[in-house]
Symmetry: C2
Subunit: 409 residues, 2 copies
């Protein structure tokens, strides 16, 4: 039954009609994945095929269980068309969102529903083979506990921070121990094809495919955490750059300060407009006598970390709100630069700092008006992530689904 998902080698050995048939079926499924259940007429127009041909393809796909009849659509005057769509339980996709101290793992069905999810599984990310093994075990455990039969899981998507080239399957910042691509290494261990992806890009895709993005085709997604990452959807496609290192917005040199960034350079956006900068500024203010819910004794600043500050802001801590606004204002300068360059329809604020909602969004918005060309920024909406901390793990699942239905070859 799993005849649709093939390796690149087998494509060359395939006969012309076999290739064509698979290509057409994938295009049908991809159309369903993007547009939901559809009538034969729509499919015909979109794929430039005849009605009988589409009917035949759909019948085969229904035989293969990938497609299901979704009943009648509302009539437009005459006979109502039949709707066909993906059969939710015919294929599943697993996503793993790896953070420094925990992972999220989720399984989605063919209809993009979350079937099973475990969040905040304790895990320590380190660039060691042991850490990689531990990750594979966590994935194995998750699969073992599922109701879903293993062979129905068509792929596993894994998000990692740092430099990842999802086309080749290589991760350079983490787990780069072998000559083989990491995706193959893990894929061999767990026996399911693997796609590795950069975390911010996966989050961007999550919001794009199932989040706050509606019809927009040019979207910037800001992953605001301790650092600042960015995922970009341009002309409806995830953008990678030459070797998957795009989106390092946090290291744009936009300030004239002397703060040394993690990357070793000075003046990076991150040095003044990131979770890291927020924590530093918070500590400095407390040391200088500012009061906050978070700490009573200015000698003991251990309790101050990013999550704590975000929580404090949500409980109306004045200092937290004030400093988050400052961060938003500075971030606005960086985003203004990006808007001038990309002319996007939408900028999505994501990552842990996005949980502060309008506390960060509104100062950012006013900075945008200050720094970006008004004509350009009038084109651009600014929204807060809808998926929140599930953006990554959902993005991983959906990205695997997308890759399996892609006809790029």
């Amino acid at each position: 039954m799993n005849k649709l998902f093939l390796t690149k080698q087998s494509i060359d050995q395939m006969s012309g009609v076999a290739y064509k048939s698979i290509h057409q079926k994938k295009r049908l499924l991809a159309y369903f994945a993007e547009h939901g259940p559809s009538a034969i007429g729509d499919l015909r127009r979109a794929l430039h095929l005849s009605v009988p041909k589409v009917t035949a393809l759909l019948n085969e796909l229904m035989e293969e269980q990938f497609v299901r009849d979704y009943g009648k659509d509302n009539s437009t005057g005459g006979r109502p068309p039949n709707l066909y769509g993906l059969a939710a339980e015919s294929a599943y996709f697993l996503g793993v969102d790896v953070h420094r101290t925990f992972v999220h793992i989720a399984l989605t069905d063919f209809q993009k529903n979350i079937v099973s999810i475990t969040e905040q599984v304790p895990y320590t990310l380190a660039n060691t083979p042991e850490s990689l093994n531990a990750l594979c075990e966590l994935i194995g455990d998750f699969i073992a506990q599922l109701q879903t039969p293993r062979e129905k899981i068509m792929g596993v998507g894994i998000n990692l921070t740092g430099r990842v080239n999802s086309a080749t399957g290589f991760s350079y910042s983490f787990f780069h121990f072998q000559d083989q691509p990491l995706s193959h290494v893990i894929g061999d261990k767990i026996g399911i094809p693997v796609v590795v992806e950069n975390d911010s890009r996966a989050m961007a895709y999550g919001e794009f495919a199932a989040g706050v993005v509606e019809r927009e085709r040019n979207v910037l997604f800001l992953n605001m955490d301790y650092g600042i990452g960015m995922g970009m959807v341009l002309d409806g496609q995830l953008y990678y750059g030459k070797s998957g290192y795009s989106g390092e917005a946090g290291h744009m040199p936009v300030f004239d300060n002397n703060i040394i960034c993690q990357c070793g350079k000075k003046g990076c956006l991150e040095t003044e407009a990131s979770g890291w900068a927020l924590v530093e500024r918070f500590k400095t203010r407390v040391r200088n006598g500012a009061t906050t819910q978070l700490v009573q004794n200015p000698e003991h600043l251990e309790a101050i970390n990013l999550e704590a500050i975000i929580q404090a802001a949500q409980s109306d801590d004045v200092l937290a709100i004030e400093l988050i606004a400052e961060i938003g204002e500075r971030l606005g300068r960086g985003i203004a630069a990006l808007i001038n360059v990309f002319n996007p329809e939408l900028v999505v604020l994501g990552g842990s700092l996005a949980a502060t909602g309008d506390y960060i969004r509104l100062p950012l918005l006013s900075a945008l008006n200050k720094y970006s060309l008004s004509l350009v920024s009038n084109d651009t909406e600014l929204k807060v992530s809808r998926l929140g901390n599930r953006a990554g793990v959902l993005g991983a699942c959906l990205l695997v689904q997308h890759k399996f239905l892609s006809t790029a070859d």
Copy 2:
């Protein structure tokens, strides 16, 4: 004969096979345009068609004069394959590169050769109907003087500065007098389909399709003139953004100065790293007593303009070279930001300032090392435009050709 180039309306009325046949033929021609003369076997693989089908299509295209037999390729051991390619004289494309005080006009054949070109035609760009009429007359004069029959000119590409949406045909900064798109307005006047495009984007496409770009698929093109514009080729496609306003790199807020930019904001890249900034700094230095070939009397600074400074640098004027290096250094900061975001394979330096070659390129390069993540900038090459001041006009021609062969619908 001109059956391949159709309006969008007629596509819907077309029968399925007619559409398919045109689609396939266009794909063949587009393949030739990109890869040059090719053998049937290559075409078969690239288009996923059978050999007899490709043969039949080629025969029709040869009948229609678009394709020509280019003789035998070198044998790989057995029978040598026949090469087919575009017939240079079967279709022509006209490009018009509009500057403030002059225009370049050129005609290219189907093989991307320049058939005829007139450069620096005096013309005054103003946002008035008269100026638009004058432009149309210049185009008409150019066509009248050609040997090429008018009906073989498949399209006219026109580059304008400012905000241009080439998909809809609207230009907003210039000639926006009617509700109709500008491309239709001009097209009706001269009787040939028109494509309007932003100048920097057209230049970027020129370098991409026939200039310094070889196999790179992610390329940033800097148009360094009085202002700083940018055209972007991402994943092998020109990037437009939501409404064709992308690439405003000159207005990224990266400096903390108080110089007010043309756009009304402060701190724009252009305020310190553009031809405009170069002229201002040059004047200031001369007023403060610096010596230069350009002026003897510091009271008379009229002779100082961008072209003069560039020429002075080329004749080894120390002040010019020094200030150009300064501009390059500052521009490096902006480009570093872009490289961090785009992870491109190549950044092309174009526009009039590019004529200074290594005088601007080398300081820029060292600034890049200072400001961008080394891993990212190691991926990126920095080259000077090959087409020089012909990038725009050639880009206009090639972009029209590209649009006419596109199967996007």
